[in-house]
């Protein structure tokens, strides 16, 4: 966190950018980000190989194969952002580096913002890795542009929502293990509706559940554009929940981070 201290002296650069730069350096030059990216690309390779094989055997249409790959990329990319964010405060606390960070002339709001932005870099990297797979599977039918654009919009909203959720949990968690476990638990809970039988997803209650859950609503929206070829405006109401979740949770993460980040979980330190 020396760079943060240096950043405090560099009046021309906003402190949150200095925090972001330092966090990005830790994440990417420290190797963690690259290792996660390798694991992500391996997962996408397996998925892309399977869907390409299934398409060759006529079991999957081209649009379905692109949609499946994109949905996995969005879900896992957002998961990476969540895991990184869940380590932000509780991780620093556990490694004993939070105290020196809080002593730098940078506000807690800027620290939280810098860490949140750095966590989102994992989603951006995941999206860049996804591009060649989607291009490969969707080429030739004018599908790639819409698939990538809708995937980027929905994935970014979901990544902001989940990374903010991770920061919130990390601020209050008593230990890093608790923070990571709780974050994963919440993510799994958000994915539960996708496992419900299709009959349970019908009717107004099922529809409402899918719309309220940012994960299911976002993935539904992407599916309609990629698989059904709908125009962007036709199912735009499905974007409401991811958008609201991204705005509300990022604002909450910044407020809570600025107010409660402390040496002990729950901001009591």
């Amino acid at each position: 966190m020396e760079a943060v201290a240096r950043g405090g002296r560099e009046r021309s650069t906003p402190a949150w950018i200095v925090v972001t730069e330092q966090e990005l350096r830790d994440l990417w030059l420290g190797g963690r980000g690259l290792v996660l990216s390798v694991a992500f690309s391996l997962l996408l390779s397996v998925i892309a190989y399977l869907v390409a094989t299934n398409r060759a055997l006529n079991f999957l249409e081209q649009r379905e194969s692109v949609n499946l790959t994109l949905q996995v990329a969005i879900a896992v990319g957002a998961l990476l952002a969540l895991l990184s964010a869940a380590d932000t405060v509780s991780g620093e606390r556990e490694r004993g580096t939070l105290e020196s960070l809080l002593l730098t002339p940078v506000s807690r709001l800027e620290i939280t913002l810098g860490k949140l932005v750095a966590a989102l870099s994992l989603w951006l990297a995941a999206f860049v890795i996804t591009v060649p797979y989607v291009w490969f599977l969707g080429r030739g039918v004018g599908l790639v542009g819409d698939a990538l654009a809708s995937g980027f919009v929905v994935g970014t909203l979901l990544a902001i929502f989940l990374a903010s959720l991770g920061v919130l949990i990390s601020v209050f968690a008593a230990s890093n293990r608790v923070s990571l476990s709780l974050s994963l638990l919440v993510l799994l809970a958000l994915f539960v509706p996708t496992q419900l039988p299709s009959s349970a997803q019908q009717g107004w209650a099922g529809d409402l559940l899918l719309r309220l859950n940012p994960m299911t609503a976002g993935e539904h929206y992407v599916g309609k554009i990629v698989t059904n070829g709908h125009p962007w405006s036709q199912d735009i109401s499905w974007l409401l929940s991811p958008l609201v979740a991204a705005v509300v949770f990022s604002a909450a993460a910044l407020v809570v981070g600025a107010r409660f980040t402390g040496l002990r979980g729950g901001g009591s330190g």
Binding site: V38, L44, Y49, T53, L57, F59
Partner: protein, 171 residues
Amino acid sequence: MRFARLALLVVVLLLTAAQAQAAGLRLSNDRAGIATALGHKFVFHTTIRNDGATPASGLIAHLNVVDLSGHTYVDPEDWSSQRTRYLPSIPAGGSTALAWRMNAVNSGTIGVYVAVLPRSGAPVPPTTGPTVRVQIKDRKTLNSGGILPLALGLPALLGLLAVGVRVRRGR
């Protein structure tokens, strides 16, 4: 008592009529066996002939798929999206033809047959056609559409990058 006898007679007559209707039908296929490969589509045709003296109406033809090898799970829905057909009236001595479009979902040997039964739900045995034996050859798609270079290359490239960064930091 008299009324009960009359009712019983009517029921027996109805059942006999329904059975006679089903018994007057004869089903035949244009193929006895089909050889294809996994993932391919295939079609066979069934002719339903009414050998009875009266028109046959209110009938349903249903396509059934059975695994003959005994070790492959078969979900008929996967094999054909339209397995139930509501037939038009078939005049006495006339016939109707149906085309069944199917997908070869698993490799192995399956049996396909068509059953015709009355829509009324009368408890009569359905009339079935001969079994079509479908032999499906397995297909290996190791490098579907050239996916392998991408599927192996990108993780390898990122892995090299990760190792490079680690080595550089170690110096």
